[in-house]
């Protein structure tokens, strides 16, 4: 068994059900899934049934699809596994990496979310994008679920 490329963990004061919803509901995703390099929100679109296609889409007038893949496993509200590829590699399974979301109840009213990214196979460009992207997305997700705001409150914004 190969070891994962990246493992990200965050503890969020919420419920497993709310966290699950935040992963698949595009109305929630658009509030925290912001890619700084693209400067716009992203959403993940699918019917979330095993074997279905899913798309990582920009929320702007272009609606560009940046990442595609298949839903590998759906076990609400515990585990979601997706394959992950560039749209040009959609039909080439060898070029798909794999992302798992594991949601576990933790002590003190917290839920532990673990995001594991495997099978990147030394794809440097993808490695770079992912290592910059996940921590930001997950810390935004935590802030949104705990405070109802996607970005930290700024006194200057008042």
């Amino acid at each position: 068994m190969k070891k994962p490329d990246y493992v990200y963990v965050t503890y969020i004061a919420t419920t497993a059900e709310k966290l699950w919803q935040a992963l698949i509901d595009t109305d929630i995703t658009r509030q925290y899934w912001v890619d700084p390099s693209a400067g716009c929100a992203r959403v993940n679109v699918s019917d979330w049934k095993p074997g279905s296609r899913w798309e990582h889409r920009r929320v702007d007038e272009t609606g560009t699809v940046d990442i595609v893949g298949k839903v590998v496993e759906t076990t609400p509200p515990r585990r979601l596994v997706l394959s992950w590829a560039r749209p040009s590699d959609a039909d080439n399974d060898a070029k798909h990496s794999r992302v798992s979301f594991d949601i576990e109840p933790y002590a003190g009213g917290l839920v532990r979310l673990t995001v594991t990214h495997d099978d990147l196979a030394g794809d440097l460009q993808m490695l770079e994008g992912i290592s910059g992207g996940w921590p930001k997305v997950l810390s935004n997700l935590k802030t949104l679920l705990e405070t109802g705001r996607a970005l930290p409150h700024s006194p200057a914004a008042n």
């Binding site: 068994m1 070891k3 994962p4 493992v7 990200y8 963990v9 594991t116 921590p135 810390s139 935590k142």
Partner: protein
């Protein structure tokens, strides 16, 4: 101890920062692999790793009997959002206000 306190405490030590740098160079290392680059006992490295783990800066994955250590930068992003981005934004806001004062209103400009 507060989560943020734990993160700052974990970072306030050169050995622990070095361990994080090592994981950044190569993610998912065992204790044995990490010890190779550290000039201290295995027990001391274990203690430093435990503090990093408690602060959620290091995530653990068990693969069979191997304990793999992963750099988990998510708490660093929370600190960034709380302590850096916020001040940066005020500074940018101040610059914007200055520009407005010097150049007049930024409304209704072609």
């Amino acid at each position: 101890m507060d989560v943020v306190d734990k993160v700052f405490k974990a970072l306030a030590d050169p050995t622990r920062r070095r361990l994080l740098d090592q994981l950044h160079r190569e993610n998912g290392q065992t204790l044995t692999a990490l010890c190779e680059h550290m000039d201290m006992t295995r027990q001391a490295v274990t203690q430093h790793l435990q503090l990093l783990e408690d602060a959620n800066l290091v995530a653990i994955v068990w693969q069979g009997r191997e304990k793999l250590h992963y750099l988990n930068p998510v708490p660093l992003h929370e600190i960034y959002g709380r302590w850096i981005e916020k001040f940066e934004r005020s500074r940018l806001g101040a610059l914007r206000d200055l520009k407005k004062r010097l150049e007049g209103s930024d409304d209704e400009k072609a």
